[in-house]
Amino acid sequence: MKFSRETICEILSHCATKELTLVVDKLLEVGAVKDVRAVRSPEIGTVQLQVREPICQERFILGDALVTVAEVAVGSSLGWAMRMGNDPHGAVAAAILDGWVAQSVPETDAPHLAILEELLEATVLQESAERSLKTTQVLSTAIEFEELD
């Protein structure tokens, strides 16, 4: 696997819940991912957001973000995921993938690993295209000043 667990988590945060669960259900159905059980049922909760402001370099609490967290066991590995919003299915699916890649099994299971890699690469591509469009839009509103002599 060319991505680390953390990178996979981050990429999957951009992936729609529907696509994500589709892939995980497929891997479960064919038996590529086995022996999965919920350690902690997906739970909606809040994450406190702390910001360091630049004037006094002080931390303060801006507010909370609503997230869903899930923990699953995949074989002997613990898989974890946190998703923004109310998303129990997305959290469970991402946690399963997190637990699966933590095992050494996927390395020897190239065909099924390819399914995951395909999802990750497609997500990366789409995310960067969106980001690039946004940057272009934002920069089009930059004020161009004439050079003063």
């Binding site: 667990r5 006094c56 609503l66 934002v138």
Partner: protein, 364 residues
């Protein structure tokens, strides 16, 4: 268990609820979808999330729909929902400079370090009411720009004005190295004297109108505890949320939220202040809500300069929360039979006492 037959209170409440539901959900127009609210009423959703202190766009849309667009009511629904949720964790501390900007204005300098970007703004749009019944514009690309794959544009680096002034040796250096734990206003009520982190948190989730009102009261009203500032930075953009992966103990980015950030430059002119320097107030709040962030930044520096001399801090901490003020205001609608009976009784008692002392004076 003994319970007397309902005397109508419950029935009336339930019918009132049904009436709200019927007239709202039974309206003949097509139902309002969540993504319509988040997509088309973005600034309203931003404002409600800010005042609720909770980044949750979909639930906010739901709250607004349920509240028929009443901002305070929607904030109430969200905060009450939050009371039922566990706190799952604390994010890694994010620096203000980690923002990916989508807008940046520097009124203090024509050409600051980095660009001035208008971004998504109606600041210079004529406020002409569009009288066409409906907006159905297709997506248009900005003229002359093709967002092709080879478009490698990145937002150029932007030096923040506080750093610029610091480099020019024009800024009071208030940077701390002791890194105190931030005050959590949701766990412990803040009251004066409070640490600055409590004031910043209070203002970040204050009612927008109350904060603007507080600001203007100090500009033109009887208080006058603040100066008009020069704005250094007005930014809007996305901040990352990073948490610690509990198994690997490494940081993981799980998503983003948008904020508005303001630096307000203050011309120090007090007798005990260094007139050769500026100071800066700071504002940061959820979503795109520039009015709120500007008021916050100006009140932040005003409160710092005031240094407990006036009651500005008490006003900020105690009177700007939307749910506190509207809840108390609206409680006046509740029955007060007992208290009012007691008040009438005292009126009569005072009258009788007067009659006893000077019988001629108090004849009604």
């Amino acid at each position: 268990m003994g319970y007397a037959a309902a005397r109508g209170g419950l029935a009336a409440i339930e019918f009132a609820e049904n009436l709200v539901q019927e007239l709202r959900d039974g309206h003949p127009s097509s139902p309002l979808e969540t993504d319509q609210v988040t997509g088309r009423l973005r600034l309203l959703v931003d404002r409600v999330m800010g005042e609720a202190g909770l980044w949750a766009p979909e639930f906010t849309a739901q709250a607004l729909r349920q509240a028929e667009g009443d901002v305070i009511e929607a904030v109430h629904l969200l905060r009450a929902f939050k009371s039922t949720l566990p706190r799952i964790g604390i994010s890694d501390v994010v620096n203000a400079d980690d923002m990916i900007p989508e807008r940046r204005i520097v009124p203090a300098f024509r050409e600051p370090g980095g660009p001035q970007i208008l971004g998504r703004s109606t600041d210079y749009t004529a406020r002409m009411l569009s009288t066409t019944p409906r907006e159905t514009k297709p997506k248009v690309q900005p003229a002359g720009v093709t967002p092709a794959e080879e478009s490698l544009d990145v937002i150029p680096p932007m030096q923040r004005m506080s750093d610029v002034l610091r480099d020019m040796q024009l800024l009071v250096d208030r940077r701390r190295t002791d890194d105190p734990e931030p005050f959590d206003i949701t766990r412990m009520p803040a009251k004066p004297p409070a640490p600055r982190s409590a004031r910043l948190s209070t203002m970040a989730r204050a009612e927008t109108g109350a904060l603007v009102g507080q600001w203007y009261r100090n500009i033109l009203g009887p208080d006058g505890y603040l100066h008009e500032v020069t704005l250094g930075e007005v930014r809007h953009g996305a901040m990352p949320i990073t948490v610690t992966h509990p198994v690997t103990r490494n940081p993981v980015k799980i998503g983003e939220y948008r904020v508005t950030e303001v630096e307000a430059i203050e011309d120090l002119d007090g007798i005990d202040e260094d007139r050769t320097l500026f100071d800066i107030g700071y504002g940061l709040c959820f979503g795109q809500n520039e009015r709120k962030a500007i008021a916050m930044a100006n009140l932040d520096i005003a409160c710092h300069r005031d240094g407990q001399r006036s009651e500005l801090e008490q006003s900020i901490l105690m009177t700007t929360d939307g749910l506190d003020s509207s809840g108390f205001l609206e409680h006046l609608k509740l029955p007060h039979y007992v208290t009012f009976r007691s008040m009438i009784e005292r009126k009569i008692a005072v009258r009788q006492a007067r009659l006893q002392t000077s019988p001629t004076e108090s004849k009604p």
